[in-house]
Amino acid sequence: MDLQQRNNVRVYGSGPTTLVFSHGFGCDQTMWNYLFPHFTGRFRVVLYDLVGAGQSDLSAYDSEKYSSLAGYAHDLGEVIDEYAVGPVVLVGHSVSAMIGALADRQAPGKIAAHVMIGPSPCYIDSGDYTGGFTLEDIHSLLDTLDSNYLGWSSTVAPVIMGAPGQPALGEELTNSFCRTEPDIAKRFARVTFLSDNRQDIAGLMTPTLILQSTDDLIAPVCVGEYLHAALPASTYCLVDNVGHCPHMSAPGACSAAMDSFLLPWVGADASR
């Protein structure tokens, strides 16, 4: 299996430590474009697409393997083995923060630290725990996905009307951002929103930076606080941001918090 092709792996920059960026549910590695260039001067940066998303190899999608996040975590471990140099810091958005935690559990020591952006170990409320959603909400999402894929003939993302001020965006690039085969999109939505990883993250000792938006529908503040309490070696950072993608809408605040968290992993030259 060619990992480069399977996960559309891209490598940028250089440095003693490797930052692996793993995108969340919805789009693909393009989401990191507002954040990752900030780090290429001091770090080796690896971007990749989860299988089923972006420009990954759709033929590699195995509904059995990817019926749980463990399958994605296994892939992440392989990407790290193949492309990382030196210690690895995983930057995971949304569901990828949990994929990173599972990869850490699968091979302790492989990941030196986590940066979790908008993480949630469990989206559905249960007992005392507030995840922010009910099962009905998730079915409503699956319904919305259904409605939209009906209009998007087969594998096409929303049409682009032409982007004012960004004429350079070509057809090839624009169509790939959220392109997913409809069946895969629904399966991924299920595995994302119905997973409960609270047992997996409890007591994880790896240093972790939690980037929590002040106003995030998908991962509310109470969830970030829950994670901070569950992860003994975590640093909690509240970013003033509306929405689930602070790395896109507040990249400056994110990179500032990450810079200070990443200090121990910056090379001697850069830290001076």
Binding site: D146, S147, G162, C178
Partner: protein, 391 residues
């Protein structure tokens, strides 16, 4: 008057009265401007809308979709088109809309301009299509599963058939070997009993020796049948040795012997036509013997059993008729197959059920055929016909 000079309503009037919902939001979704149509669809006044975020007016599925797809796409691509969402009216009704949007920057601040078109009716139709597709997919899956199961069943059946064939062949080969091996001890028994019969014997001993002789002959007939059967089934078919003969003479001689073997039966011979033909005399006797034995076993012994031999320029024919009860309809089709018996009754003259099969095989070896008719009025008649043969 040139079109350019026509007075048009002012832009604000066009915005407010547009036949679609128009909304301008900040990047975080906060509504800064909306038109009357949007106000109507959501049930909030324009002033109330300005305190809200666009995504808060969607169903939960739409809100998640906004966060995970729509927002990032607007940011990355600067525009979006044909996204279907449900607006949530303040009284909890939903209004299905298609959304187009563009992102632009004005005085250093990013705005999203959204146009929404009501599509409730089309949405119903699309949902029907979607349901039909799901149904079609489910049916296809079911069909595929059924086909797989069918293929598997066929494979199992064909393998079971192969096994049965191998077993049958094995059993027939065993019958051939055993029958062949039984011939020698039987011959020894017969010779020994004949030798004993030559000496001085008491009436009781003589009677017992008679039984031994008859039983041995019966066993020899059965073995001969079995050997013929195995030759027909696993060998090259029954072998014949045709010679020029007169069918009437062969039949008459045969009946003379059979009258001794079946003293209780009344055997009559009818001969019609005349011509010489080429047949295997021993096999003809075997046919007559088998058919007569059959009639003795199943027929009415109070009435005559009639054997007719016929020969003309076209064919030779033998038929054996008795006045027994009719053969049940269900048995007729398989009557000439091996191991078929007319009834389950036990009888002195009953064989292993190969008689008629051997008759048919002998007929086939002569390029001839067999037929049977049976009814309560007419009795039962077996016929064998042979085309006229030349040396």
């Amino acid at each position: 008057m040139p079109v350019d000079n026509l007075p048009l309503p002012d832009p604000q009037r066009l915005f407010d009265g547009a036949p679609c919902a128009l909304v301008v939001t900040r990047e975080d979704g906060t509504i800064v401007q909306a038109n009357q149509c949007f106000s109507d669809w959501t049930g909030f006044s324009l002033d109330e809308l300005k305190e809200r975020r666009f995504q808060d007016l969607l169903t939960m599925g739409g809100r998640i979709f906004h966060q995970t797809h729509l927002g990032p796409l607007m940011k990355m691509q600067g525009s979006i088109a044909e996204v279907k969402l449900d607006l949530l009216h303040r009284d909890r009704r939903t209004v299905t809309v298609l959304l187009n949007g563009v992102r632009y920057e004005h005085a250093g601040i990013a705005y999203n301009e959204l146009a929404l078109f009501g599509t409730t009716d089309r949405d119903k139709y699309e949902r029907e299509l979607l349901n039909a597709r799901k149904l079609a997919e489910a049916l296809l899956q079911e069909k595929t599963a059924t086909e797989v199961a069918l293929q598997q069943a066929q494979a199992e059946l064909s393998s079971a058939y192969e096994i049965a064939q191998r077993r049958a062949l094995f059993a027939e080969q065993m019958v051939a070997i055993v029958s062949h091996d039984l011939k020698n001890p039987l011959t020894a028994i017969k010779m020994a009993s004949e030798f004993l019969a030559r000496g001085e014997r008491s009436p009781k001993e003589r009677q017992l020796l008679g039984h031994i002789g008859l039983s041995t002959e019966r066993a020899q007939r059965m073995i001969a049948d079995l050997l013929d059967f195995t030759q027909a089934r696993v060998g090259q078919g029954i072998g014949i040795n045709p010679v020029a003969l007169d069918l009437h003479t062969v039949t008459r001689d045969s009946l003379d012997e059979l009258r001794v073997a079946f003293p209780k039966a009344i055997l009559e011979h009818h001969a019609t036509g005349s011509a010489r033909t080429f047949l295997d005399a021993d096999r003809i006797q075997q046919i007559i013997g088998n058919l007569v034995a059959n009639s003795v076993a199943y027929g009415d012994l109070q009435q005559p059993i009639t054997v007719t031999s016929h020969q003309d320029a076209q064919e030779s024919r033998l038929s054996v008729h008795n006045h027994g009860p009719a053969i049940p309809e269900a048995l007729m089709a398989g009557l000439f197959e091996p191991m078929t018996r007319g009834t389950e009754q036990d009888s002195e003259v009953r064989s292993v059920g190969l008689g008629l099969f051997i008759v048919r095989e002998i007929a086939k070896a002569h390029d001839g055929g067999v037929s049977v008719s049976s009814s309560p009025d007419q009795g039962t008649s077996f016929s064998v016909h042979f085309p006229l043969r030349h040396p």
